[in-house]
Symmetry: D2
Subunit: 341 residues, 4 copies
Amino acid sequence: MIYFDSDYMSGAHPEVLQRLVATNAEQTVGYGMDTYTKRAVELIREACALPNARVQLLVGGTQTNATLIDALLARHEGVLAAETGHIAVHEAGAIEASGHKVLTLPHHHGKVQADEVAHYIEEFYRDETYEHMVAPGMLYISQPTEYGTIYSKRELEDLAEVCHKANIPLYVDGARLAYALAAEGNDLSLKELAALADVFYIGGTKVGALFGEAVVVRDPKRLPHLFPLVKQHGALLAKGRLLGLQFEALFTNNLYEQIGRKAVEQALRIREAFCAKGYAVEVPSPTNQQFFRLPNTVIDRLKEEVSFELWGPRGAEETVVRFVTGWSTTDEAVDQLITLL
Amino acid sequence: MIYFDSDYMSGAHPEVLQRLVATNAEQTVGYGMDTYTKRAVELIREACALPNARVQLLVGGTQTNATLIDALLARHEGVLAAETGHIAVHEAGAIEASGHKVLTLPHHHGKVQADEVAHYIEEFYRDETYEHMVAPGMLYISQPTEYGTIYSKRELEDLAEVCHKANIPLYVDGARLAYALAAEGNDLSLKELAALADVFYIGGTKVGALFGEAVVVRDPKRLPHLFPLVKQHGALLAKGRLLGLQFEALFTNNLYEQIGRKAVEQALRIREAFCAKGYAVEVPSPTNQQFFRLPNTVIDRLKEEVSFELWGPRGAEETVVRFVTGWSTTDEAVDQLITLL
Amino acid sequence: MIYFDSDYMSGAHPEVLQRLVATNAEQTVGYGMDTYTKRAVELIREACALPNARVQLLVGGTQTNATLIDALLARHEGVLAAETGHIAVHEAGAIEASGHKVLTLPHHHGKVQADEVAHYIEEFYRDETYEHMVAPGMLYISQPTEYGTIYSKRELEDLAEVCHKANIPLYVDGARLAYALAAEGNDLSLKELAALADVFYIGGTKVGALFGEAVVVRDPKRLPHLFPLVKQHGALLAKGRLLGLQFEALFTNNLYEQIGRKAVEQALRIREAFCAKGYAVEVPSPTNQQFFRLPNTVIDRLKEEVSFELWGPRGAEETVVRFVTGWSTTDEAVDQLITLL
Amino acid sequence: MIYFDSDYMSGAHPEVLQRLVATNAEQTVGYGMDTYTKRAVELIREACALPNARVQLLVGGTQTNATLIDALLARHEGVLAAETGHIAVHEAGAIEASGHKVLTLPHHHGKVQADEVAHYIEEFYRDETYEHMVAPGMLYISQPTEYGTIYSKRELEDLAEVCHKANIPLYVDGARLAYALAAEGNDLSLKELAALADVFYIGGTKVGALFGEAVVVRDPKRLPHLFPLVKQHGALLAKGRLLGLQFEALFTNNLYEQIGRKAVEQALRIREAFCAKGYAVEVPSPTNQQFFRLPNTVIDRLKEEVSFELWGPRGAEETVVRFVTGWSTTDEAVDQLITLL
């Protein structure tokens, strides 16, 4: 069986694992006060060209979104997000559990449009009863989105401008950021993203780490009390160095970039093969997630030797499916899949 | 420098690490649905003699307490705990953040007394205004406590009886459970504890795992919707098998037991050495944490070669200090410490 | 100036006020334990033909919705509601502030459809990742709706059946219930509604009281700890008898019914007059709220002598407006309005 | 039967009621935007000598405390309060329900001491693990306290200074403020209190209103988004003018002051009579609440004709009791009580 279900099916990239093994017996202080974490923070600041940023390492994505959104919002505010955003759908109400409403916007293959965000905010404040409603207090986007699509540099600039004018922070969920950076046609570098987003995170769990997400706060004064909030959200890892070591490895010798590039290459090979066979591409994704509309007969045949997910309910004759690559996707696995088509 | 600051300063026990390395390249489903986690669950059920228990693996202690206490309490209820309990002091308000009050009881070297718990509950319902106050909805204790002390079998039976009569669950925080099971004079086995506590957890982070806590719910019907709550609390690890693999290792060949036994032995050697030198034992702890009252001159001298924590503020002439052993404490380190006294 | 802005612009119906004045000097126990409240509870039980119901009197609508929804939902659950429902739009995030998501359904002039509710619940449980999403834990509807429309007996039976099958409670926000009971074409009596809804409230604030909403819980065992939750939500009135006295008055000599009937008559006279003048009815409302689409020139002319609200933003040439009647709307005011058309 | 149970047993002071009756038929806008509320706000600003203060009228005390404490605290902060404070004991967990811990201080007849507050804050920040604990984010006191005692001008200055140095707001719960202002030996005027407290409220419910509490925020910039938070907490009264009218009456012709003075006089007459009979005063209260330690035989005899509360559980031979006066306590009732002693 070959696997294309998701990008968190394997352990860690060998270079990441190697760091954990090599340092296992060492004794260090906890909670991220160790020197490995300090080193990782420096490497990330450098990669982002943000020498003064606050970098906080957390364990997982839902936890990161819940903690940071709670930290960024005032009590009377909610978070704007695409109706398909992870926080709006698949976090079991974690945002609401900390008291905040997710204010949904229409999506365009998973993306929000700057003009629609601006319109939402304008209409909100034009409504005479706006103080009876939840104020838009920040914008959440994901790069790449849950549909594998990416924001261009221009699109992100437009969103940042809308947020800036409205005086609300722009937050970018980068759970799969490496795959956006390496995406076909991407024109937005990490440094550029870091200059536009007020807060964002660099995903590790789906990009070669055992687990771990690195939050970057451009202006630390924005969140002076992040540490106790991380603890309050149950998001503080006792052996914090495990996060430091992994991000140190990911940001050494361009490993993070390489993982992204390789996985996207594999994904594009898969797309090419499906297209060559005449199957319909459901979403124009240039990243490591690919969506096709396949006849159910083809799905059933492939399922005998390939593991992958249906994207939504099974249709009468054809169904949308998702194929995901990651750091551990081998050339052989992709070759085998292509042969099976 | 030798380290006695805490029991979470090293990585994982070699046998635990070995499991992670050996399986690193495998691809499995996420969120704890994998076969390693299933195996770990079976091993824990067996060790507890609870073949039908619900076992849920989580990442860290504060997260576990916050999630389970939230799951166990109704909205109008609070959690009874010793005023020294971890949830009352050192979780940055995680319990309150999910809406619940910690109702504090006096402590006796970190322990609560069954008669005082019973008295609290009786007085509560005798108060005519009790519906204006927070109802005691569960009892939280830690075994061993934050002071290293342990509950005897009889004491736990008494607490369980008080809870049973009051129809509230008894919850045991076992972040350091191995060290209680191996404690000098302990008469309470894991199976006995499992039969008395309604919900408890077996700590991994402080007992040889990189991270991980195994929650045991004796009667799964008590918490039918635990999974979405775990997700909502940001406590669901994507690569859930990492938890499964670690607990599988800890519960194979009695590793969990061995780790506890060895660390307690080291702690008792340390205590003996301090006593032999005439230093005062501050808390009668039979586990891996030892508390002494030392002259500041001795503290300053030791600090040159040994790392350990002051327990509370520095006094004028003498101060209470804490020495902690763990799976990675070597005989050599203890010998060296003893020589330095 | 004559007023048609809303149904909470005046004080209390004279008979209600009279009760407050007559008893003002009396001394009674607080928090609703007094005999006036007991009497009001009995009258409401009788009117609902629910001799064993739990009746709890609260001060205002948002408070009532927030308290009861919090009381009814488990932590992992959200509340289904029309996207136009008061809780989804105009309660400043009160539902989310207590930790719960509002799960929105499409609306049809403010109403939800039983088949769409059923479909939502079915699709939810068909989704393999449903434990990562917020479970539908109750259904919220308003009778009449925010658009003045009403559910027929058959429609409510269908909704109740869907809820019953899904094992979730049906909650009815009756802030303006009197106006639904008296609505043109209404076939749903209070007793029938009370037999179908699991929890609902009878609005007083908009129907002749100074303030006050009467919550009816058909089966008290469903909410055994409502009292402390009311207190926790800051919704417990110290001088509880003020609520008891007002509802006693409203449910004596059919006052509640009369207020509803009179206000609806006035509203229908207004509608007839607008229709006769050829203005478009925007929403087919049979209750005390009427919505018309008027040329801006007409709006500007009327505004000189009549106070009423625009319903949404002002259009280029014409705009939707709302006219609301209430217990204090006089025949003269309506005559005057009609003359002005 | 004569009543001394509490100060919220009657309706409203006749002058307050008269205002409600006189304006009942008027139609005004809701939510406190009416001219009566504006007038009440001006009168309160004047009485406080704070021409720019933000004054917000709310319905009840628990609601007010919960809303304002939530508004004042950041997510990682808790509220310091005497262990006997209303928020710590008798609000059913309302503070925790909005996510905040109550950090308790020892009480001295219901009061906290400035040096103990300062010590708490110093020790907190001296603790190396303070970011794992709940930070003291504000100080809550009540004037008078739950024990009827009052803070002197000097004591309040000292508390304000401690808060100022620690950069946290001082909040005063004035549910019974009139009785402190009129207390025997009081040297703290309303204007002086208003100059020292950052936020406080002037209680109406217990001082002649049907209900109502007037929050005063000295510097409105401290709470720029109070309105939506009031709505979110379910604390926004639709017919807001009811609050405006009542406070307008209370702050016209010194009514608030008069009510306080009269009730305190009655209370002191009662105290004198008990003392003359040789009964022990339990708490040295100079306000409208008096606490005595009486033989149970006396209690039982009095109970036949007088209604009052036991203060805590009944003792074997004697028990502490509370006698409370209010605006509606008549001279005759006090005479009668004295005769019965």
